[in-house]
Symmetry: C3
Subunit: 276 residues, 3 copies
């Protein structure tokens, strides 16, 4: 588990440029989360520049929380440019399943682009993978029973990392499934905590380098989730509710040490029996 700390140091050392095409709710907080962890965020949406920006970046983070035609077109263009240049793409299918438009768009992006990481809440990932689960607006309203296996099968087929977050977070590279048990209930009481994590995963897979193996990207993702969730635990200890929690979360991301992250990490491999 020591390499969680090394991944954090790598982010701080390289200060990766993460190009975000994200939703209107979280634009500010996603940028602040990236700055706080030590990365360099850029938000760019115009068709005229998204390909240029994606090629310059160390990662591209796509989030369809407030999608529309223009945003979807920008995501496709940026995603193709990133794929061509070997820049890893993280995709967050916010609210997939809530409306047909979201479901179709999420499926199109997953099929057209080569994703490094697919991350959603358990409801979203269940819906997207056809494994069951439910979504209420943009919140998970139920997880499928066989979600970890469905995630592993999808990850193996597509050659990407799949992440479903919730009280326990599941991560798989198509071979192994990990269960991550850090975090805090206040994360569900602020808007866009999942979107902030998606942006941060861009920073971590960004420093894994272009063309990194999916197993290496999974290690980066596990480190990113753990750093974010450990910071949330530390923030919650100093917060009086969701408002002060969000402010303290940026503080905690900024001050997080590799030692904190490693000492508090709760990562385990999920064996076959416990997946069912």
């Amino acid at each position: 588990m020591t390499d969680i700390g090394e991944w954090l140091l790598k982010v701080r050392g390289e200060r990766p440029l993460v190009h975000n095409i994200t939703n209107l709710v979280v634009t500010n907080v996603a940028a602040n989360a990236l700055l706080a962890i030590g990365a360099s965020p850029v938000m760019a949406y115009a068709e005229e520049e998204v390909a240029d920006m994606a090629r310059l970046a160390q990662a591209l983070a796509l989030n369809m929380g407030t999608l529309d035609q223009r945003v979807v077109a920008a995501m496709r263009r940026a995603g193709r440019a990133a794929n061509d240049a070997g820049v890893p793409v993280v995709f967050d299918p916010v609210g997939v399943g809530a409306t047909p438009y979201r479901t179709e768009t999420a499926r199109t992006l997953c099929d057209e682009l080569r994703l490094a990481v697919l991350r959603g809440n358990a409801g979203e990932i269940g819906v997207l993978l056809g494994a069951g689960g439910a979504v209420k607006g943009v919140d998970a309203a139920g997880a499928a029973a066989g979600l970890p296996q469905a995630m592993r099968a999808y990850a193996a087929e597509r050659g990407c990392v799949v992440v479903a977050t919730g009280e326990t977070d599941y991560v798989t590279d198509g071979k192994t499934v990990w269960a991550l048990r850090n975090g805090h209930p206040l994360l569900a009481a602020v808007t866009g905590s999942g979107c902030q994590l998606t942006a941060i995963l861009g920073a971590f897979v960004g420093v894994a380098g272009r063309g990194a193996d999916v197993a290496v990207q999974a290690a980066a993702v596990i480190a990113g989730i753990t750093c974010f969730n450990v910071a949330a635990e530390m923030a919650a200890a100093r917060a009086d509710g969701p408002g002060t929690f969000q402010a303290r979360l940026f503080d905690a991301l900024y001050h997080l040490t590799p030692e904190d992250a490693v000492a508090r990490a709760r990562v385990e491999v999920l064996d076959e029996g416990r997946m069912a």
Copy 2:
């Protein structure tokens, strides 16, 4: 007044999905205010999905703070779908009177849609109702003398609740006019406090149920305003200025108890003599 507490418990218990088509300034804080009070926010703008989302929601909150053609088209489409499905619609005519475009748009939306609640600051409501008053950008710059009567006449004609906020907030269902005297001056020092309230009114009228009587919706609105303003009072007591106040406001909404809301509520019926 005890039912203010019951309305709050109802929001917490039902966790109503509130579909917001709101402005770029407050997207994040409106979502956080809804989460903090115990509701489930969703922001969706695309013409392809707004009707679907509005029908799924327990309330639709429209806010024209940063309107443009596409947003207005989305509001009209979502509003009609909500009307057809009996989902209550809350409308916030931000900055009406500041430019002809805002004034025309606000009038069109008021005329085309069947609103459950119309809420603005005293300047905006005065301008929109043709009762006088003034607007400077998006801030009230003066209220009309006969505003409560004009509000009551409009509410009676349209069968909706009309709310004008300010140091004193006025609410009417077309028969009675209430004066609400909770709140804190720091609300005027953070952007979008009125917009946050509009979103929260969506949660309260949402739990009144589809097809609720205007008098019931007025009770829900009075409860929503009072909960928000009492939370603001409690937040102000722990804040050092507008920045910490906004964070503390989310904390206070999250921790607000029915007892606090009831004990601090300052709601009175405005008699004819005092309306003039």
Copy 3:
């Protein structure tokens, strides 16, 4: 230096309406920064109303952080209306140099509009003026050696105030170059601190009045930067990291006194020898 305090009192007294066409990352915080210092922000983007709103305002602040075709068209239209009405225009060429689209757009706006103030980080201003420097996404990645001279030449040619911010901030009216040394490293750890400053400069040049001389506008700009950076110093003393810093920054702007600003101001004229 006493007039820094007078400029602050003038902003608080006049409560200038500042029309912002800004980016999606900072819409909320730019509005809150303006409210906190005592100005009245309005955000308006629609082609149908930007000219009307710009004419009503005491200043127009343009920021291309998340530009697209529609935003650029709105900026051009609002800018021309402001120019025609004598309303001062502040322009922030966020990320110029990062992509060809940003560079072309920034040059077009600078050439088409008569700017009162051009403000960017040292990397952006260097790129825009053809003086060297580099940009990484939207962050400065290096400043040109002869930047102050290049700024002075450009300011003299265009008759505007040019500002390049960084650890030291440079301001010139085309004759004198000032070096301003207030501020705090946490400003670089929150997103959009430069954009918040741009909005605030709108308030300060706004109270300089229509048609004010460039030297007077430079004095307003120096006061605005100093007030913002002194507030940042005071906020940092009470913050635990970037999240609490942003909240405390609004508090500090709100409570800033003319005496604080004057006592802490570090403004000096840069002589020829030290510019090289």
